[in-house]
Symmetry: none
Subunit: 323 residues, 2 copies
């Protein structure tokens, strides 16, 4: 708002990066997403991110979570593949940590090359041993050039260890008000200054080094340190927990699709920006807002994250019809 | 009924305390509620209270329950944050009780300051060690000035230990017929006398000391020991278990909203009464009755608590439309 010149051609971008559906394609080509999150305390967040990916059109959606969280996440939906492999400190003896870390990594590595994008953070919690494991998973993802969307407790981890994403152009951070504040304090060593929101956001992305940041707010601001764009179409005034998980799952799918588009030689498109993580953020922000608006029109104050997820398909089809 | 002069201007009150929805607000500002309840035996009650809070418009809803109860409550809905931290005697050795109590309190204290209201009792059970832990949680809530709605087994606890709420104006008791009878016997040392229902209710609240009591019945009577008001709009003749949990979750949200309204200097309202717990009870009683009436019209004898919950949003919007 107040930055009309930055407003992305959001619906055009969403349409451009959404792949055509073609009966000759096979399972997996529309996207394979993995969410790293879900612990004893939190199970809803990784479910929301994973089911969102499927509802937008990804073919397969995985969750890597702790053993406690897995049966619950599985119970939410038979559509999601849930791997109960992470461990929290309370269930691990010190002398076993090294071997458990190795086992976790071996398990994730079996799958890593197949994933088009990771989402790190929804319902991850802050257990130190678990975060150590997740740091290693992120390093492996980076070695394999798999894009990483970082949200929630993943941002807590990254804020304390910027090297995990620094200099990695396929990393996307999606901070909310509080997460953004902590990032600014840590990286720029100052407070958030909304009189220079654009400049500060650019500095932040540049300082971290080439990552894409989606700063969530009344108007979403998106930058890769080179350009800044905004998405401010009207969504919903409801602020129920879980909407950030829809966003991170959406960014994962759209970033995967944008990478396919940008790298394919057969589709010469005038799309701008060209950075697939920027495109993914713009499309995801737009779709969430549309779906939230639809859900709110029907459910009003009662709107929950589950309701918004139910409108993702229709909202996507409104913008980019299948035929 | 028979007390038309006491009847609250219920719909006006509900409208006055329901906050406007505003896109510039962020997650949490519409309310963060926690339910203390859920044990090996009971899991439905805390779920009903917690999901009710969200369906009315709270942003976040937590449940603190036993380890056994947590996966089940989580599986009812991904929208609720469930903390598996309470323990029952059967799983605790005597020598470990002190350290477990400390751990439980440390865990709850991490969150306490963020909550706008606690609901203590839905599906709590009566295990002595668990009730000891809950007593301590209530003391901590009181120190932090967090309102406490007490229902179900929470009333069993409080009836046996009145000091937990005595003199705390942010406590709300919501007894049904039997719970009210036990309270009257314990506090007033007499039997319930419905020829002087109002006088006896006032005495009870005064004797306990400044708490608010919502006496559930065909007509709900509400007092803080100073004024008495009633809500008797028609609800439903169905008495399926769980409706009390809808009520306690609703009282929590509306009390939080009423506190915001009464404490905000920018909204000069002629609302009466001024006590936010009274306002919360009046609004909650009204909304439950409306939703139960809608549900019964459709589902008749088949009406269950889940059906009533589905009508909370529409009933609220009928009285206080979002735009």
């Amino acid at each position: 708002m107040g930055e009309p010149n930055l407003e992305a051609a959001a619906e055009n971008i969403l349409r451009a990066i959404t792949p055509t559906l073609d009966p000759s394609k096979h399972k997996g080509q529309a996207g394979k997403i993995a969410v790293i999150g879900g612990c004893r305390e939190y199970t809803g967040a990784p479910y929301f991110a994973a089911i969102t990916a499927l509802k937008i059109g990804a073919d397969l959606s995985h969750v890597f979570c702790t053993k406690d969280a897995a049966p619950v996440i599985k119970s939410y939906s038979p559509e999601i593949i849930v791997h109960p492999i992470l461990e929290e400190s309370y269930s691990v003896r010190d002398e076993d940590k090294k071997s458990i870390l190795d086992k976790v990594l071996a398990e994730v590595d079996k799958w890593m090359e197949r994933f088009d994008c990771l989402v790190v953070g929804p319902g991850l919690g802050r257990d130190p041993f678990l975060l150590d494991c997740v740091s290693e998973i992120m390093k492996h993802a980076r070695q394999s050039n798999v894009p990483i969307v970082v949200d929630g407790d993943g941002l807590f981890l990254v804020t304390n260890c910027l090297d995990l994403v620094s200099g990695y152009p396929l990393a996307v951070l999606t901070p909310n008000v509080n997460e953004y504040k902590r990032l600014v304090q840590k990286v720029l060593r100052c407070e958030v200054n909304d009189d220079d929101a654009i400049g500060q956001l650019l500095s932040l992305a540049q300082q971290i080094g080439g990552v894409t940041i989606l700063r969530k707010g009344k108007c979403d601001l998106i930058t890769d340190g080179e350009t800044v764009t905004s998405v401010s179409i009207y969504g919903s005034p409801r602020r129920c927990g879980g909407q950030g998980d829809i966003l991170s799952g959406s960014v994962a799918v759209f970033t995967s699709w944008a990478r396919q588009l940008v790298s394919s030689s057969d589709r010469n498109t005038s799309i701008s920006p060209r950075n697939p993580t920027m495109l993914g953020c713009i499309a995801a922000s737009t779709l969430l807002r549309k779906a939230a608006s639809h859900a709110f029109n029907v459910k009003k104050r009662s709107t929950l994250t589950t309701d918004i997820i139910e409108y993702l398909g229709r909202s996507l089809d409104d913008i980019s019809p299948v035929s």
